[in-house]
């Protein structure tokens, strides 16, 4: 979890992947779809984004399938299929296979026509936004991915939740340098960050959350139970909170309104409630060589990224990083050391395995 030391109890990447596939296929999800979910969840854990990995397997996916809220075997409907556009109704299935399907279609179209975009409606949580944007990289394309989500954040100067953490991810291929991968919630922090502060008994930082009256609160419990998140930039307009609010609204418009799915108050549901099919996604891909030669672009991007990283850090900081660097370093490390899984999450995974009758996920202690 963000801001915490990684758990010493680890799973091997291949074991984690197999466990997710077993769990989902035991609930009637097709093997292909289960593989897609496993790809995205394991990628999140490897990237150190534990909040979006296997920690959500039970509550966000398995239980919603068991409860009949999310369809294990959805019927997709293609709403629009043109040379540069694709619109999908995901039939209230899992978000990950629908997201991969739509991004693959986008990539195919962009390779032929230079640029393409896609929307998905009637979908569900799709994990980390970066996964789909990064699918573009191996094709020398720039990838873009966004999703709306359950409303957790207030607008600037508001006290009612009108938007989710609505992330935006962009991935750009370089040549020798690893790619630029920006994946950001449009809120200052995510809900998971409030949970971390709560567990540690620490006060929140200004700019993170408000209480029920819309005024800033530093109390995690007030924020989590009665309050809301603030947009990136914090309260009011002094720190640019209206910009984060605007970006969150942009995501809501592209993923909800443009996709023809629910938006506005239809998304104002309790995150812990059992509901499905309310989520929409937006994807795009741009071909670099539609504007310039890929090789020259990659070499220039290497220089650009290198310039940031070689610039001098502030006293007390080791280095200046570029977007995607920490996540890539986590991935390299955890592939060798094993994937850290929080002790609390292990308990839930064991209970899940027993409930649906599959083998428990094997673990080891990393010293």
């Amino acid at each position: 979890m963000i801001g915490e030391e990684p758990s010493k109890i680890r799973a091997r990447e291949a074991d984690e992947r197999a466990f997710i596939v077993h769990a989902l296929t035991a609930l009637e999800v097709s093997d292909d779809d289960a593989q897609d979910v496993a790809d995205v969840l394991v990628a999140a854990d490897l990237r150190g984004v534990e909040s979006h990995g296997i920690a959500r397997l039970d509550t966000f996916y398995c239980r919603r399938i068991e409860g009949g809220v999310v369809n294990a075997r959805p019927q997709y409907a293609v709403l629009s299929d043109r040379p540069t556009q694709y619109a999908l109704d995901a039939g209230n299935g899992l978000g990950h296979p629908a997201g991969k399907h739509a991004m693959e279609a986008t990539i195919g179209k962009a390779r032929r026509h230079g640029v393409a975009f896609a929307t998905v409606r009637n979908s569900n949580h799709y994990g980390i936004a970066a996964y789909y944007a990064m699918m573009a990289l191996e094709h020398d394309l720039i990838g873009l991915s966004m999703t709306n989500s359950t409303h957790l954040a207030v607008p600037t100067f508001g006290r009612q939740k009108t938007q989710g953490t609505n992330p935006i991810a962009v991935a750009i291929p370089a040549h020798d340098h690893p790619p630029f991968v920006l994946d950001m919630a449009t809120t200052g922090v995510t809900f998971g960050r409030l949970e971390v502060s709560d567990r540690k008994g620490k006060a929140l930082k200004p700019g993170w959350a408000v209480g029920p009256d819309g005024a800033e609160t530093l109390d995690p419990q007030t924020a989590m139970t009665k309050g809301a998140l603030l947009p990136l930039g914090g309260y009011g307009t002094d720190g640019g909170g209206h910009k984060g609010y605007g970006l969150g609204a942009l995501v809501e418009i592209l993923c909800g309104v443009l996709a023809g799915g629910p938006f506005g108050t239809a998304l104002g549901l309790d995150e812990r409630g059992m509901h499905g099919g309310n989520v929409g996604h937006f994807f795009a891909a741009f071909k670099v060589d539609a504007l310039r030669d890929v090789g020259a672009f990659g070499a220039d991007l290497d220089r650009e990224l290198g310039a940031f990283e070689e610039s001098r850090p502030v006293p007390g900081a080791d280095r200046v990083v570029t977007a995607g660097t920490p996540e890539r370093e986590f991935t390299e490390r955890y592939r060798v050391e094993g994937v850290p899984i929080d002790p609390k999450v292990w308990g839930g995974l064991d209970a899940l395995a027993e409930r649906i009758g599959i083998a428990k996920l094997e673990r080891f202690t990393f010293e």
Binding site: L79, R82, T84, Q85, H113, G114, V115, F117, T119, I142, P155, F157, G158, T162, V170, I172, F180, L182, M184, T187, G188, V189, W208, D213, G214, A215, L232, G233, G234, G239, G240, H242, A249, E252, I253, G256, V257, L258, G260, F263, T265, F286, K287, V288, A290, L291, R292, F297, D300, L301, E304, A307, F308, S311, R312, P313, V314, P315, V320, A323
Partner: protein, 367 residues
């Protein structure tokens, strides 16, 4: 701008347009190009973004043409073109007409292909980003625009300015509601805000600026001693400063790097009469909405979505919740009716320019 200084004069929109056009043609700019520059600059003043309007006419444009840094009669070159993309070399001309050309072509291509994008290199300051994104609106398209700019902002945990205020703009049409127009610098505040606070002798707010060591600063004069702006989200990562940094870097990659223009160290050269010009690059995109869904249904849903934000409850002490572009839209209505307010230093500067160029001064409204 949030700071509204006392207006000392009001001018009619048509008079201001004619004046800017006259000033530019007098220094050798082609009539059609001068009309476009006038339209972009006056649009900024009309929308209440006075920092980017006629206040810059002399300093950014006329003076640079007169001292030969910007080409009054540039030759444009299409460096690469496909049915969905365009790369334009602006021949070191004014940024506004080159951008107008690129966005017009992106819109034409999007009409035929559903989506298109364009980049411009060897260009100069282009005024407000929102102008070009908004060009898509009357075509029932979504418009996107960004530009890189001279480096004033540090990366997260850095102390050297590595990127500009690099704005992004998105414009999305609605039905009865004004369009959604998000136009924001990826820094918390712009350089102009520091100037305003210095003039007023007020301390800077947290998250705005750092000193020469990269440490948070509240001294409004910090920019004279090697200080820099902070990215949206402020210092460090606690409030998401890495997100603003990532967005700013993204802008420079999509503009400078993708356009095969200048980027990195080339954008750090301090402004002077002999500093290089033509170092600015821009990025544009247009997306056709009816490729995905019926435009009337989309606009009806946009109205619902925008009203959902606006009808939500404000915090105590605030009258209402705004959506992006609404304040600027209201300014346009008021200033078209009552005249555009210009503060004393700006109107004095325009008068002095008129005298130098031996053209009539801009008329004040009688009101």
């Amino acid at each position: 701008m949030a700071e509204t200084a006392t207006a000392t004069a009001r001018v009619r929109e048509a008079d201001l347009l004619a004046f800017v056009e006259r000033a530019l043609t007098t220094v050798g700019v082609d009539g059609e190009q001068a009309r476009i520059v006038a339209d972009v600059l006056v649009a900024a003043d009309r929308r209440g973004i006075e920092s980017h309007g006629v206040a810059r006419l002399r300093w950014f444009y006329v003076d640079r043409i007169r001292n030969g840094r910007i080409a009054a009669r540039p030759t444009y070159t299409v460096a690469r073109e496909t049915p969905t993309s365009l790369l334009l070399d602006a021949g070191n001309g004014l940024g506004h007409p080159a951008s107008h050309r690129a966005m017009t072509l992106a819109i034409e291509k999007a009409r035929a292909s559903g989506i298109a994008f364009a980049a411009v290199r060897n260009s100069n300051h282009y005024g407000i980003a929102g102008y070009y994104a908004m060009m898509a609106l009357e075509h029932d398209m979504i418009g996107i625009c960004s530009t890189d700019s001279a480096h004033f902002a540090v990366p997260t945990f850095g102390r050297t300015p590595m990127q500009g205020t690099n704005p992004f703009a998105f414009a999305i049409p609605a039905g009865n509601e004004p369009a959604f127009v998000l136009d924001f610098a990826t820094t918390t505040v712009t350089y102009g805000k520091l100037e305003v606070y210095e003039r007023k002798g007020l301390p800077l707010k947290p998250g705005w600026a750092v000193d020469e060591n990269g440490s948070p600063a509240t001294d409004p004069a910090v920019r004279h001693g090697g200080g820099s702006l902070l990215p949206l989200g402020g210092f460090g990562t606690e409030n998401g400063g890495h997100k603003g940094y990532g967005l700013g870097a993204l802008s420079e990659m999509l503009s400078g790097v993708l356009a095969a223009g200048w980027f990195g160290a080339a954008l750090t050269i301090p402004e002077s009469p002999t500093a290089p010009s033509g170092i600015t690059s821009h990025f544009f995109g247009a997306i056709r909405i009816d490729a995905l869904r019926d435009i009337d249904g989309f606009k009806r849903d946009m109205d619902c979505e925008l009203r959902a934000f606006k009808d939500s409850t404000p915090v105590p002490g605030q009258d209402r919740i705004y959506v992006a572009g609404e304040i600027e839209h209201e300014n346009e209505i008021a200033f078209r009716r009552d005249g555009i307010p210009l503060i004393a230093p700006v109107i004095d500067d325009l008068d002095a320019l008129a005298d130098e160029l031996e053209i009539p001064r801009v008329a004040r409204t009688s009101a």
